[in-house]
């Protein structure tokens, strides 16, 4: 795995669950769903600073979000459920009905 390739985990967070009640255009909600949590060492390896914009690319699409240090193992990145995740998740379900929404291969690179 090259240093730009990661495994993407999507999921719920408390902030996302709370701010959704303020509306999907609320700043708090948009901030939370557009923040990528990364291991501090991975941020360093990619030459990024916390708050930098990164482009995430999967087989199915791409999205630009900001990165943040998180308690997450090296090689994994995490982002809360929301519109930015939707651009990255494919619709193939391997005939199960369930798209692959976690454990997705993703490329992370600096944006801008």
């Amino acid at each position: 795995m090259s240093e730009r390739r990661f495994t993407l985990i999507t999921g719920r967070t408390t902030k996302q669950g709370r701010s959704v009640h303020l509306g999907k255009e609320a700043k708090e909600f948009l901030d939370e769903i557009s923040t990528l949590q990364m291991n501090p060492k991975d941020i360093e390896v990619l030459g990024l600073q916390e708050g930098d914009q990164v482009r995430l690319s999967t087989r199915d699409g791409s999205a630009v979000v900001k990165c943040k240090k998180g308690d997450i193992p090296q090689g994994l990145v995490f982002i809360a459920y929301g519109g930015f995740v939707n651009a990255l998740v494919g619709s193939d379900t391997q005939a199960t009905g369930m798209p692959n929404s976690k454990g997705i291969e993703v490329e992370v690179e600096r944006h801008g």
Partner: protein
Amino acid sequence: MAESVGLKESKGLKVIEGVTCPFCGVTCDDLVVHVENGKIKEVKNACVLGKDTFMHHLEGWATPRIHGKPATVDQCIDAAAEILAKAKYPLIYGLDSTELGAQRKSIELADLIGANIDHTSSVCHAPSLQAVQTVGISSCTVGEVKNRADLVIFWGCNPAEAHPRHPSRYSVTAKGLFTPRGKKDRMVIHVDVRPTPTARMADAFIQIKPNSDYEVFSALRALLKGHELDQAEVGGVAIDEWKTLLEKMKSSKFGILYWGMGLTMTRGKYLNIVALLTLTQELNRFTKFLAAPMRGHGNVVGMAQVLTWQTGFPFAVNMSRGYPRFNPGEYSVADLLAHGEVDAALILAADAIGNFPAKMAEHLRSIPMIAVDPKESETTKVATVVIPSAQAGIAAGGIAYRMDHIPLVMKKVVDSPYPSDREILERIIAKVAAMKNGGNGAPVRAGGARG
């Protein structure tokens, strides 16, 4: 009915006790809601997620409209009925964040118009439902866990953020009959690909590699049967560590394994759960061991209950031949939309566009769509017809099933100017039935509409 129970009123302030929270599958039924002049002023006992559900319920209300233009609710219901009566292969979807009566009506409507009917479980715990139907489940209520469990394993789930009161009410610090010291009488283990906030409340955290769960459960089953494995590690964790976990499972008096999306949304899907359920069943040769899914939306279990009771299947049901057919991968919402198969949709109590992968949302945007929702969402923004509803569990009462299949009463704590989901569906059904009988739509099939 239940609205009068636990109601205390003085000087315009109503204090309603024993309120059931509609947000997540824990459906805490001990909330106290203070209502003054028809507005919610305070919510006690709820977690942050539940509290915000009540306190912000007035924000972002949807408005009735057709093709983006303001309309009356009556006009919207007529327009919705017309779309559904004309559709050849419609979809009814959402349905988990509402009450049981509305869920029953949604199935009646699906039967009447020969629709595909699926609910948000489809992209959530549907693989768990498939696994349970495949190999069965040894499970129990949360009350049993509170009173008896001395080993609780959270695998691929994060109750600290998704079900904040589950640990304190039932599974971690809760004090029960045989667990009088709460946390001191329990061992809590968290297994996940990252140390989620749940790891902080656990006695041990085991970090496994993404997409390795099936392999890990299979290895645990082999070890349980006395086989030695010729590998040093499985899922990135040393075999000895798995042996230690297995010993803890075998030596517990009452163990339970809770699982979440970490298993249903990753490689293996329902097969991960089949392996998990088989392992927990086999552990019963040694001790009492159970398993249960951590369910998300408030009444998500209710929809699977009523759909299974009425059609035999818990999700992804197709009624186009006048009888129910079940085929995940074909009649499930992800596949129906990704393949561009449905020609109209009714989305109730869910933000499909806001939660679906882009390709699915794209098809939904291209067909006539009716959104029934108390609040504006990405779905209402692009819907052909928007029908605002009274929010179930806040402005409309009814039944919700807790995650362990226990039905609870949801109370109406405030009024809404809009009808309930159930009433909206009843009115659409009446209108569609009249149109079909009047010869304006397709003829009613034999055995089609039920009363």
